[in-house]
Symmetry: D2
Subunit: 345 residues, 4 copies
């Protein structure tokens, strides 16, 4: 049994962490912070947690984070980097769901996030928390940078291609589609039901922050061929609450059994499910679950490979993967507390 704390618990990744951690047999939720809602009972804000989470939000300044074994940051970008050192020094370990430690290249990070990094000395230590790539290093990490939601889906879709040499590495296209919860629990007009419902659009076509994260992470793969990666990434907003589908296009340069390539790469992975040939994964098949399901296609036997990957952006794309990382860090079975079956329909 470990004690955990959550910094920034009123957003969607926060409440999803609470859902998962409250059902985790080895975890006690010691504290959860909120600047704006300190004093409010968690279950008053999220009645779905009535009878399961009995604590109140605590002011960040007063939260007993130093007494935690593991602290989750479910905060906007910029918070974790200011607080990480003190927490690590107190002996706690950190899973940061924000973007603060996702990039190793500080200059790139500062360009995209438009602030000076507050803890550059921790960047090197932070482990990028994609277990399918970094499992061993996550186990020993003090500070894990939990990947972004799109970044998780796109990387899992691309991994077998980047680690081999059958397709062009410079012309990947990832057409991403996300449910609206990916934008967070923010009071913005463009996220209103009346704006997003019965509607579809692309956004951030000029450039999205997950682009450098994907490219840097894939480029630095130990097994990577070293070839330079080129990626066009266009995200779209889907009128649904949860779910990401990444449709990835790659130009085939040499023949291969791509289905087999994917099956072998992910054999034994508890949370990556390579579907049989011909499958077309649905986001709802992973709604509320930590699974990522992948299908591999070659339309009309042409030169373009199409890989489809679905995940729940709040689970494998955020809180579920964070708990998966925590399980690895603390020696729990990797699936503990995150083996819920998707809610269908």
């Amino acid at each position: 049994m470990i004690k955990v704390g959550i910094v920034g618990g009123t957003g969607y990744t926060g409440v999803e962490l609470l859902r998962l951690l409250a059902q985790h047999p080895d975890v006690e939720i010691l504290t959860i912070t909120s600047r704006g809602d300190a004093g409010t009972k968690v279950a008053d804000m999220f009645p779905s947690l009535r009878g399961r989470v009995d604590i109140s939000f605590t002011d960040p300044a007063k939260a007993p984070l130093a007494q935690c074994d593991c602290v989750f940051f479910a905060t906007p970008n910029g918070v974790a980097m200011s607080q990480a050192k003190a927490i690590l020094d107190a002996g706690a370990r950190i899973v940061d769901l924000s973007a603060d430690f996702r990039l190793k290249d500080r200059a790139v990070w500062e360009k995209w996030y438009k602030v000076t990094h507050a803890a550059p000395e921790l960047i090197a230590e932070a482990v990028y928390g994609l277990p399918e790539v970094n499992r061993a290093r996550i186990k020993g990490a003090r500070l894990v940078a939990n990947p972004g939601c799109y970044a998780t889906a796109v990387q899992l879709a691309l991994l077998p291609l980047v680690e081999s040499d059958f397709v062009d590495h410079r012309s990947f296209i990832a057409d991403g589609k996300s449910g609206v919860s990916g934008a967070g629990r923010k009071a913005e007009v463009n996220l209103l039901f009346s704006e997003a419902s019965d509607n579809f659009k692309a956004y951030a076509v000029h450039g999205h922050r997950h682009h450098p994260e994907i490219v840097e992470s894939l480029q630095s793969l130990e097994n990577a061929s070293g070839r330079k990666i080129g990626l066009t990434f266009v995200p779209h907003l889907v009128p649904m609450v949860r779910g990401i589908l990444a449709t990835v296009y790659a130009r085939i340069e040499r023949e291969a059994d791509f289905q087999s390539l994917y099956e072998k790469r992910f054999a034994g992975e508890p949370f990556v499910d390579v579907l049989p040939p011909g499958s077309q994964p649905e986001t709802r098949s992973v709604r509320g679950s930590n699974q990522c399901r992948i299908a591999v296609h070659r339309p009309m036997d042409g030169d373009t490979l199409v890989v489809l990957a679905v995940e729940d952006n709040l689970v494998k794309g955020a809180a579920g993967q964070a708990v998966q990382n925590m399980n690895l860090m603390f020696g729990f079975p990797e699936s503990r507390g995150i083996d819920q079956i998707a809610v269908v329909p």
Copy 2:
């Protein structure tokens, strides 16, 4: 051809007024105001209007409202009452889509809207703009108070009952259901897609501002029996953009042919459609149109009458009815510019 102005054009009733007025053959949209977006082209904010509305939002202080024949207020409550006198004095006529002039009882108004009324001298003059009740008076009005969306649907459902003596007038129940656009284009967490989608709830169960509007208006009907009206009204939020369904329950005291009662009451009404017996109207059958469709039921031949009324909350429940009132005020055919057929599916 008349000149019209719109005060407060960035909300949903504003853009809906623009959609209808831009297609009205007898209207020139002279000006539209916005405090926060002055200078922005209307079509930049609402690309659906590209090529059809070429003006920009104007600062309210600089808008040529005095040059208009008709000014629509699509503002939050409290604005119209501050500006109405000056506009009327300048010779323009007003259709106020807010609640400022809907109640005759100033004390009741101030209790529900929690401010002092700024133009009490105009309350008596204002005509409640429900054409099915006040058509003659609307024609001569300088100042029309456009009814609320729920208030329109519930009153049309109740009119034939209140004007006759077959059911108990003290125990009406109106179970209202509205699409999310009824709450306006406001950046509030509870209106986010991720909050309202795949979800259903009641709200304002303790009391909703349309309650006194409905009761006062029905109580004051010229044809009313004079019996005191009692109403329980519970609104609900439906995960759809547009549409209201009011399910109205009444206790039958004396036998009557209720189907016939409704058909006779609304015979000749251009925008009230009494459906054949057994019908169950859908909100989408009026989506984008100014129709209200009504069905009358007596479940299991019991003592309870059930009346179902649907409307588009932004058309017959707001902007469409406002244009209907303008048509009456300026002597245009009542349906001009608001005879669009509903968009189905």
Copy 3:
């Protein structure tokens, strides 16, 4: 560990039973039948179950139901009553999620379901599976009739009122709202996305089959006052997948502390949650969970009591309650396998 079988597993209650039973530690799913899809792997039809349910659908004639300890019928009405006797004779116990054994009055049942009952000799033995009323009898039952989805929500909302004497028992109104999954996984035009989305309507206003179920069950309560119950029930279709909200109206005859009445009645109930005064329960607060949440209101301190009850129609309204009944029948802790926290957002 008990062996269970599911008859009719390709509908929404079937797949929901699979989701819950596959996560139940004391259950082995021995067999699941489908007439049309025999031979198909369950996980091919429902990929959400990949890696969790490895069996295929079996032809009903060949399924080893006699080897089961518990058989669930997730079939259309009319199937369970034909097969129940043979299964009971083989020593298995039954939870019937269809309507075959929900009514004690055979004549009423045959009127509403329009067929002759095939097992009238079992009607008396069948126990109506609402644990909040019949917990003790369910424990000893061989045959449990699992309540309808609306019937569960409406009865839980009405129980404290019917068991006491503060409101008129003859004029209850239940305005029901259900997500579309309540209509089942049937290829019907009116259930298409393009018909049901962005739309709202009432249906079965003339009379719904859950009406006699509610009235008979409430009328026969041991604690009931004996007063005759009158109910008007109008169901509506909400553009969401899961969830029921019942808005129940009752005329107050004598003063009482209704909040306290509800809290006392449901104290200790694991799956009925009486919310604090002023609450307005959302269906999503129970999405995927077995909870029913109830709030009690008295709008504007008038004579009408308004009770709001939400449940997930596929969990507490169907499969979850079925597992709850199974838990009671086999002596497992009542919440085992059905204590999932709702998926929010």
Copy 4:
């Protein structure tokens, strides 16, 4: 004033044709056929048309099609080709909204549609009804093949690129997203609300019938460079009723001012709107309207051009374009009856 008939009026393109034609000042709807619903009043099936369309569905064998000036086929593929000759011989002209005459290459057509073509002698005469390409020929046509919904959006997005020489013509990628109404009003399980809502998936990844239509039409452009076109097309199902967004990717080979290229190509087009640089068109901006809105992007100034095109699949993608073609064929102003402003929100 011309007389028109509609063959197959109970689907979504049928009811959309009715909505538009009923508001068209130069058209009388003489007859509408339905095999299964002959005798039913159109307005009983589609209450949105009450008071606007007063005829009933007619048995196809009895419909006075020969008396029509223009006959629309809103039928499944295979019907128009059987009946076209007789209707043309009777002197009527035809707009076929099905796929029967969209391809010039009969062998390709028969491969994709899996039947023998019933009217091969008419294939050459049929004019592909994309006004932005074939306006002049449409004016003189007896038989117009109305383009498919995806085919319209993708071609409009690609036209300026295919007619010029700045990008690679062999590696186009079109990632298509469509609302569910594109699949028609068919009682299929996968189109149910409970299947399609809160869900997202790709479909027909192996090959979609609009693929050969797009390629053949673009390849045969009079202004085309003659270079061979290669296209990967992956359609996706969006949980919304109406709307298509095509995200088209092209590899830039030579520098150009692509924004200007698009603006010039579509200057003066009444129904193609090239948005300002940086725009990200929403499907709702064309909901219910005949507009196609296009934006041109070059993400991170790289080598990939991204073109976004939105349309309403039932209007510009079907019924609206059919009326546009009719207007051209009969010498009416091109926008007559199809100039409705989109319904937003």
